[in-house]
């Protein structure tokens, strides 16, 4: 058998029966297009979130968050006021491998006024090394220092969008602003940073020394969060269990009681992101697979019609020397080419839709490798699985009967 020539002739047959070929491929086109689209969107979201996470949680970083999970398996949680700076100091002295840490407190919805301009935002408190720990560059002026932290000074570092709103193009460093009723001096302006994983604009950040925030503005002795930088990321697990042990002991939490804190490491975040994008990465692609199932059924029906229509052709091929397996091969090749074609078209349509969707949703345009498996391999599998029965029927034709 001359496979190359049979392949060429299969192409010609498909080209001459454009309508049949189109309808055979249509289901595959739709199925693969929706599969590619949903999958790339899922991956896009995942990547977008990962990029945002990276901005505030590097691979060496841990977050200790003062929240209490209500119940095992329950997703909702309560903020608690049990986490203190003393806890943090205890952690650093008892758990080896921590190179830096920064306590964090927030005060939401504060009005900031400069002259006749005002803007409402969240005030964040951190230590003097907060700039390094949170990886925040300062483009104008500087971050507050240790003595300002110790003295609970009324100094503030503002995000570039705050600076623009309050001061326009003039330099805000040294200027006076009011947060609530308290006057502050602007020490510096952050460099632009974009959006965090929760969708908060970091360029609207306002940082004050944590002491100032806790004592002067909030009058509290607890913090909501701390960021801990681990010296060696390979020892992340030990540090996480060390922190957990220290906090449990200090908060008198016994073995099976729920913790009043969560230690968030990059792996935890990655798992959370996967969980959140599961609907795109698993559920919607599964629905697309149902579309492919329908495509398979269409292929079976059209193939049977085609085999019946081409009875005398099959008889002739057998008369001039085609063996049963040659006929089988021919029909499987035809259905494979059709399905592959459908897969490629579907993949292109899916990626084009993703591109358009990505522009609207600000998703990065990245093509995951799985798309090529979906677009090139899956259609052939569906095509052959659907086509094998009609192709077998064709292969079994008795030439005498077929030629009658």
């Amino acid at each position: 058998m001359n496979r190359k020539e049979i392949l060429k002739s299969s192409f010609r047959i498909l080209k001459r029966n454009k309508m049949r070929t189109f309808f055979m491929a249509l289901g595959i086109i739709i199925g693969i297009a929706s599969l590619s689209l949903t999958f790339t969107i899922g991956k896009g979201f995942q990547r977008q979130m990962a990029e945002r996470v990276k901005k505030f949680l590097g691979s060496n970083d841990l977050l200790i968050s003062a929240v209490k999970l209500k119940m095992e398996g329950n997703k909702s949680s309560d903020l608690v006021s049990t986490f203190t700076i003393d806890d943090l100091k205890a952690i650093v002295s008892e758990v080896p491998g921590i190179s830096m840490f920064d306590p964090h407190q927030i005060l939401p919805n504060q009005e900031i006024v400069a002259g006749n301009q005002n803007i409402s935002t969240t005030i964040k408190g951190s230590s003097a090394i907060g700039q390094i720990v949170w990886n925040r560059g300062v483009i104008k002026g500087e971050f507050f220092n240790e003595s300002e932290e110790l003295n609970a000074s009324r100094v503030v570092v503002i995000g570039p969008r705050i600076a623009e709103t309050l001061f326009g193009s003039s330099n805000p460093v040294g200027a006076q602003i009011r947060i609530g009723n308290i006057p502050f001096t602007v020490k510096g302006v952050f460099e632009p940073k974009g959006v965090d994983p929760h969708g908060n604009d970091l360029d609207l950040d306002v940082f004050v020394p944590i002491t100032t925030l806790m004592k002067r503005m909030m009058n509290v002795d607890y913090i909501v969060m701390a960021k801990v930088v681990v010296a060696d990321e390979n020892h992340m697990d030990e540090v996480v269990s060390g922190i957990t042990a220290v906090l449990k002991e200090r908060h008198h939490i016994s073995g099976n009681e729920p913790n009043d804190f969560i230690v968030v490491d990059p792996i935890f975040v990655r798992e959370k992101i996967k969980e959140m994008t599961r609907v795109f990465n698993v559920l919607l692609p599964l629905i697309s697979l149902i579309a492919l199932l329908a495509a398979g059924i269409v292929i079976i029906v059209l193939m049977f019609m085609s085999v019946n229509e081409r009875t005398s052709e099959i008889g002739l091929r057998k008369a001039v020397g085609a063996r049963s397996k040659d006929v089988l091969f021919q029909f499987l090749i035809e259905v494979s080419i059709t399905s592959l074609l459908g897969g490629v078209i579907g993949m292109i349509i899916g990626l084009a839709c993703f591109k358009a969707f990505g522009v609207i949703m600000h998703l990065p345009f990245v093509i995951p490798w799985q798309i090529f498996v979906f677009g090139l391999l899956l259609p052939i599998v569906v095509g052959i699985a659907a086509g094998i029965t009609p192709a077998r029927k064709a292969a079994k034709y008795d030439p005498v009967v077929a030629l009658r």
């Binding site: 002739s9 052709e313 008889g315 002739l316 091929r317 057998k318 001039v320 020397g321 063996r323």
Partner: protein, 229 residues
């Protein structure tokens, strides 16, 4: 080349008494012969051709093709013999529609191991004087031209024997004559031709005539038939 020994072909319908399409046929066809198998419709001549052409197997009896007993050969071996040793020409031409003359002629080569199938197909088309119609689709050709394409297809793999089943049956007189002349020329060039027909005039062009009636084969030369009338 071909020998039938007591070959019968029966068909049975739902346990009814079997019907003989071919009954105890004994026949020898030698290389280079031009044989006509003649009989009225329903006489079993198509069943005979299907057996001779290895499209079908005898129910009983032995069929030797080049000294090989056909009943002992597998389906694939039969397909291979049909491909390499046999050419078929049918009453209804059986060309692939929407397909060019050249591609139709190439068809048997798809199942052979030969190369340069395009030039071989062109050579076969030139044997039937149709090179100028090579790129025409089958449905754009006249009946006579279609049958010439079918003959080119039968010739393309250089078979030893050609079976033609009512090759002029769907053609006008002129085209029919042309087809017969091609068969004569092929026979003169050494090809064995077996022509199945119901038409005495067509049969008269063969060098030897075999009659078939109700599945029973009897042999008379054309001269004998004429002298009987």
């Amino acid at each position: 080349m071909i020998q039938l020994k007591n070959v019968s072909k029966t068909y049975s319908n739902n346990g009814q008494k079997p019907v003989y399409a071919v009954k105890n046929a004994n026949l020898v066809i030698k290389k280079g012969e031009f044989v006509a198998i003649i009989g009225p419709s329903g006489s079993g001549k198509s069943s005979m051709m299907n057996i001779l052409g290895m499209l079908d197997r005898p129910s009983t009896g032995e069929y030797f093709f080049e000294n090989r007993e056909v009943n002992t050969l597998s389906e694939d071996e039969l397909a291979s013999i049909r491909n390499k040793k046999i050419g078929f020409v049918f009453q209804k031409f059986h060309l692939l529609p929407k397909t060019t003359a050249l591609e139709n002629v190439e068809l048997p080569l798809l199942y052979s191991d030969r190369n340069n199938i395009r030039s071989l197909a062109m050579a076969a088309l030139s044997q039937v004087n149709l090179t100028d119609r090579a790129t025409h689709r089958a449905n754009e050709l006249s009946g006579g031209q279609q049958q010439r394409v079918a003959i080119a297809r039968a010739l393309v793999n250089e078979p030893d024997i050609i079976f033609a089943d009512e090759p002029t049956g769907n053609l006008d007189y002129e085209s029919g004559q042309e087809i017969i002349r091609i068969f004569q020329a092929l026979n003169n060039a050494g090809k064995t031709i077996v022509l199945i027909t119901h038409d005495q005039t067509v049969a008269s062009f063969a060098k030897r005539t075999i009659q078939i009636h109700d599945g029973v084969v009897s042999e008379n030369s054309y001269e004998k038939l004429v002298s009987h009338e």
